[in-house]
Amino acid sequence: MGFALKLLSTAFTIVLLLVAGCDNSGPVVDSNEVVSYGALSAKVRGLDPGDIGDTTSSAVASQIFECLYQYNYLKRPYKLITQLAQDMPQVSDDGLTYTIRIKKGVYFADDHCFEGGNGRELKADDFIFAWKRIANIKYLSKNWWIFDGRIVGLDEFREYTKTCKSRAEVDYSRPVEGLTARDDHTLVIKLKKPWSQITYLLAHLPTAPIAKEAVDYYGKDIINHPVGTGPFKLKLWHRGSYIELVRNPDFRGEVYPCEGAAGDLENGYLADAGRRIPMIDRVVLVLVQEDPPRWFLFLQGKIETSGIPKDNFNEAIDQKGVLTADMRKRNIHLRIFRDPSTYWLGFNMEDDVLGRNKPLREAISCAVDREKYIELFTNNRGEVAYGFIPPLMKAYDPQIKQMTKGTYNPEKARQLVKQAEAVYGGKLPRLTLSMAGTDVVARQAGQFYRRCFKNAGLDIQIDYMDWPTFQNKIKTKSAQFFSLGWIADYPDAENFLQLFYSKNASPGPNNFNYSNPEFDKIYEQIAVMPDSPERTELYRKAERIVVEDCPAVFLLHGVAYVLHHDWVHNYKPHAFGYGLTKYRRIDTAKRAAYKELLRASR
């Protein structure tokens, strides 16, 4: 067998090298290097932070780029701390001017784009350039929503870019009143109106500083050449296959947090307190889009962490909801944490049938058995949603369960259908639920909904489609009702409230095309309020208004299950942070022991 394999292998190598011209050399492995291996479940689309709009690209780029602020890795509830900023911003009394001091001695990683190939020091102008670049309409950034209508003069700058013929013609030296550098290390931001969420957005990857030299040098290929200030830099990117990052030798001195949340000390999260980070030399991330190979790689110890594929859930988690004996034997650890997410069946409130018929919407809401759905489709990895603010958020309303009228109750649903028919003035027409996905799971979910609706006496057909078609349908207001959800960008319920603001109707984020003047008034009020108990109360009030109007069947809030091997230390789940590899430590002796364990068990 061995000889045959060797022969075949040699034959293949010859064919490959002669015909395909493949590179036969893998990465050079230094035995003293600490390497972290991971899997990416989706393709990295690009590593230009200004244009990143997907989580996979963000997860990789966040290892390379840094923002002004970041989340404390250990503390809960989630709290912002400084990253490139020297301290938290000084805010003027009227809440309109933010003065931010930038750390000195922070350097961009060495790159050919700089004179002599040596990275230069980070300056306030790098932030201004990055944000003007997002404003430049010719750049076609997906992230203009961050700054749209917020900063004095930036909208005018965007208007100016519309008059330019190409992106190269845009003059970035053109002043923007609301973005100025008092000196190389002081950034002053002037807002049009108070915006307390700005600090969360300043911890959001697209607001990372960019070196103009890199943009000028690489042009449109900047997506392949990230030049940041972060703990790692890109060594190799074999597009559609794998990415290799290496420690940035010029990374500013950052240390592992010395304080954490309750229980962190007992759980070993503070064992590396005060230690210089990153503690890993090289990060290899392989693209594995299918569940079976990703799961096998994890069990073989090739990759360090993994979610639990639906089909392997019982292999990993037993009836009691804890790790199975096999997983424990492998020294695999389970981390469970709440996602900042809510999933729903949304109604198009501009639809002639659904928009004007509240009993019908409530009937649909009462018809859906959320608990069964969570059990069948998420292996119980979810919590029933009664409103849209997830329990993870500070503004979560524990009383919302009592407020909602649309909890599962098939008998009530049947009665509401009769009321709905009275409102409609006859037999209800067949309704169409649009669902993204044409795979087996989507169809199974569709069958589940149909059964729920049928029990309530509702005639609903399911329309399955691919994601782009689905998105198009929503944006053009042509979906009657649809299955969708939202994962918060930052730990502030405002991020959910904006989804119901009438001025954000489709093609904006308000896919429900929901409009309620009372809600709008509260939203406009809280949008300019700083964090306070009063604002939290208003968030809850706004949520109750929405729940009362029933523009959606709120289904569930996600709960994430993550597995990791015991040689990965400091693995604390974080709902909002991306560039977290810098905190991790790899115990190579334990990794070798796992390989031995596997060998012995064969």
Partner: protein, 313 residues
């Protein structure tokens, strides 16, 4: 022969034009607008307009010198397919990069299947009606009835994960020969059923001819009759099958590449379909059409080379 080749090459012009017209109509007229996908969340109408201008979707569809269709033709002729809208990478770079990995999988797969199936077909055709023939035909039918995905999952689970004979997936530290071995083997096994049955039928047609009996009557060995005479005379259907399969080698294997992490053109295609990246799909379709037309011509030339009775008329 030269005149024939030139004539055939000229015939390819309307065929390729037809392919370009159909792909243009499918992806630019029927499939709808992808501007919203590019624009991301909460994009304004102006942003969408800019995107349309960037990709030339604001220009007239036909009947203008800078129309979308004219640009589509121009891009195809110059092999400048522009940038993919899903990741803004040059499409031609994607194609160049994917061809190597795809061929590294499909060539061994193709050669392995071809050699094994033709050899076995000759043997079972010679032993027709024998128990070996019956068993092989049964196995072929069984092999053809099993979904391709089952071969992949079975091979990956047992041969790679459970018994650790092969790597489960592509891995940067491994040479291509290692991680391509299992998918190629799976491809060969999965493809044997259909190919073997086809070649067996071809061989059976040939083996029943008088010249075979004459050859045996003259005392030639079985090996000499089968491999020297029968195989040579069965070359026409074999060439048709083989040469026309070559263009598909360049296009890779959708499922094998995805399940084993081979960054080839099959993977590229499946990604592009998932993301509705029409420019990539259109470019791949065009390249596939060109390859198909060229290899069709090569097939015809090969006919003349292996069978002197066929002329370039």
């Amino acid at each position: 022969m030269t005149v024939y080749i030139i004539r055939r090459l000229l015939y390819t012009i309307p065929i390729v034009f037809g392919v370009l017209l159909v792909t243009f109509l499918l992806f630019n007229v029927v499939a709808g607008d992808v501007t919203d996908q590019i624009a991301g969340k909460a994009a304004s109408a102006e942003t969408r307009e800019e995107i349309r201008a960037e990709y030339g979707w604001d220009k007239p569809m036909f009947f203008a010198w800078d129309s979308q269709f004219f640009n589509h033709l121009k891009n195809a002729v110059t092999f400048d397919f522009g940038r993919s809208w899903s990741d803004r990478e040059l499409i031609i770079d994607k194609v160049k990069r994917g061809a190597g990995p795809s061929l590294s999988l499909t060539i061994p797969m193709f050669l392995g299947t071809l050699i094994i199936s033709i050899s076995l077909a000759l043997i079972v055709a010679f032993l027709r009606g024998h128990i070996v023939d019956v068993v092989v035909v049964l196995l072929c039918v069984a092999g053809m009835s099993i979904p391709f995905l089952s071969f992949i999952l079975f091979g990956q689970y047992f041969l790679a994960f459970k018994w650790d004979i092969f790597p489960v997936f592509f891995w940067p530290d491994l040479s291509p020969a290692h991680y391509v071995l299992l998918p190629a083997l799976i491809g060969i096994v999965a493809g044997l059923g259909g190919n073997l049955r086809f070649y067996r039928t071809v061989m059976l047609d040939e083996i029943r001819n008088d010249y075979v009996r004459t050859a045996f009557a003259k005392g030639l060995s079985v090996r000499r009759v089968l491999f020297r005479h029968v195989l040579k005379n069965a070359m026409i259907p074999i060439i048709t099958q083989v040469v026309l399969a070559i263009p598909f080698l360049f296009l890779g294997s959708l499922l094998l590449e995805r399940f084993f992490g081979i960054p080839g053109l099959g993977y590229l295609m499946i990604e592009a379909i998932g993301a509705r990246d029409f420019q990539v799909i259109s470019a791949m379709t065009y390249i596939g059409a060109i390859l198909f037309v060229v290899f069709n011509l090569i097939t015809d030339i090969c006919y003349c080379l292996v069978d002197p009775r066929i002329t370039f008329e």
